[in-house]
């Protein structure tokens, strides 16, 4: 103990004993008053709160927000297992949930929840555990930019919406790289570098095609892009861009012809090898969130977003309906591709990315410029 003089001792006693009691007393009384007041006015508060911002609350919780992401992840996992099972001439999850296996996904999540999280030695646990949570939430942020209807955009930042989407979705690949590095294991290390190779070669063609669509629509705002496609979807004039973006979606979502970072055959599970328990559950969910974000962008850019005949009377409802229909068809098609094609090698995928997709994206951009200046479209 270092030497303390008498005066400091006295001052210490005063600060430690007298002041807190006086402060704490005032603080507790305020708490009590606030609680009583709230309790008394609670019904009025909630009603007023709900009335004021019911729509954003609905958006955040239900449609482009939390429920949409979770429900899609759950249904997609179940659907993919049943769908692939049929391609493999078998039945798929059968016993949970009366022969349809619907509860299988909940059973899996519960099992993962119960499982012990095995942490390898000599790693920084906080960094290691943060990655799976980040990898499943960051792509979900990109969803809020997708327009579901004229005024149904959660984060309406006008002409900044497409670049912001690319920024957030571009951030998503960084996290597996950190996760691979954090797990201190040879397989994850190589898996992490494969993620890096793959995403760089896939991002550039995507951004170029996005720019081409923006030029044709006249603005970077996703809402205006969708309105520009009222008469004709952009997939028709920009077919080259359409094909490249479709391949881009499969690459970004790490679906089968390109799920090279998580190649179970060689790398055990790529960057996800060292995760177990609920952390592994998050990485499993992350795969579907990224897939959802990119395919929704693909629909807004090329397949005319929420345009569609007004069949429900209420225009918003039918717009949302059309967007979800296109989304389901696209998801089924991409899952079907998983039944048919094996996995490409990394160098073949890079060759595809750099030698074919990037030049074609530039050509597509040139074509669009020619169309735009020539006034054809």
């Amino acid at each position: 103990m270092t030497m303390i003089s008498g005066l400091m001792l006295w001052r210490l006693v005063v600060t430690c004993v007298y002041l807190p009691t006086e402060l704490i007393g005032k603080w507790i009384s305020d708490m009590i008053n606030w609680g009583l007041d709230l309790l008394f006015h609670l019904p009025a508060y909630t009603v007023e709160f709900l009335a004021l911002n019911s729509k954003p609350l609905l958006q955040v919780l239900i449609l482009p927000g939390l429920a949409f992401v979770l429900v899609f992840a759950i249904i997609a996992v179940w659907f993919e297992r049943k769908f692939l099972a049929r391609a493999m001439l078998r039945v798929g999850p059968y016993y949970c949930g009366k022969k349809s296996g619907v509860l299988q996904v909940f059973a899996d999540f519960l099992k993962l929840f119960m499982k012990e999280i095995i942490v390898p030695e000599g790693i920084d646990f906080l960094f290691f555990a943060a990655m799976p949570i980040l990898v499943s939430t960051v792509p979900a942020m990109a969803l809020i930019l997708i327009p579901f209807d004229q005024n149904w955009v959660l984060w309406d930042i006008g002409s900044l919406s497409m670049p912001m989407f690319f920024a957030i979705a571009g951030l998503a690949p960084l996290i597996p790289i950190f996760a691979g590095w954090a797990a201190n294991n040879k397989y994850t290390f190589i898996g992490a570098f494969r993620v890096a190779y793959m995403y760089i070669s896939a991002e550039i063609p995507l951004v170029l095609c996005g720019a081409a669509v923006a030029i044709m629509a006249g603005s970077f705002d996703l809402l205006k892009i969708v309105e520009a496609q009222k008469s004709m979807w952009f997939a028709v004039p920009q077919f080259v861009g359409f094909v490249i973006f479709f391949l881009g979606v499969i690459i970004e979502a790490e679906r089968t012809p390109f799920d090279i970072p998580v190649a179970e055959v060689e790398l055990v599970l790529g960057w996800r090898t060292e995760y177990s328990g609920i952390l592994f559950g998050f990485t499993m969910m992350a795969e579907y969130v990224l897939f959802q974000a990119w395919s929704l962008l693909f629909i807004t850019l090329y397949l005319g977003g929420f345009n569609g005949p007004n069949i429900f009377g209420n225009i918003t409802l039918s717009h949302i309906f059309w967007l979800l229909v296109k989304f389901v068809i696209l998801v089924v098609l991409i899952i079907l591709i998983r039944c048919v094609f094996p996995r490409l090698r990394l160098d073949q995928m890079l060759k595809l990315g750099w030698r074919y997709m990037t030049p074609l994206a530039v050509i597509n951009l040139a074509l669009v410029l020619v169309m735009k200046l020539g006034g054809i479209y």
Binding site: R86, R90, I337
Partner: protein
């Protein structure tokens, strides 16, 4: 353009497979019909066996042993299913054909010593309903034009 053909042709061939229903059997509730030569668990006829020791000498895995049975004189084979590989020598070359195969395969146990079947246990074979209580149907597999179908033969 052959590259594009190689992309779309497998797609068109494999994609319709998704519309078929599965060709697997739901095990505990369904059970296939086995052929009559099927090699399942043995059945011992105590009165036929003359304890001539042929099966003990012939068994490649040395899993048969002659054991006393109270109430009868002479020794009778006791089969240890931990090492028996169901090769069928004891059934084929028994001079009195006292051993034969049944079509019971579900004899997994939790405690290994239960796998050593005494002659009495070999003599009586439990009915399939006791072994598999959840069994509902016996199915038979047959080939159609493009897939293997299963047809319910016997509703239990």
């Amino acid at each position: 353009m052959s590259f594009l053909k190689k992309l779309f042709k497998p797609f068109m061939v494999v994609a319709p497979y998704v519309l078929r229903n599965g060709q697997t059997i739901g095990f505990p509730t369904e059970r296939p019909i086995f052929s009559e030569r099927f090699r399942g668990r043995h059945r011992l006829y105590l009165d036929r066996c003359v304890s001539c020791n042929t099966c003990v000498r012939l068994c490649p895995d040395k899993s048969i042993e002659l054991v006393e049975v109270e109430g009868r004189e002479g020794k009778f084979p006791q089969i240890d299913y931990q090492t028996c590989s169901l090769c069928g020598y004891c059934v084929e070359f028994c001079p009195k054909s006292a051993l034969e195969f049944t079509d019971l395969v579900e004899y997994s146990v939790t405690d290994r010593s239960e796998l050593i079947y005494s002659p009495e246990r070999l003599a009586e074979v439990p009915d399939i309903k006791e072994v598999l209580p959840m069994l509902k149907r016996r199915t038979e597999r047959y080939l159609t034009e493009t897939e293997i179908k299963s047809r319910t033969v016997e509703e239990l």
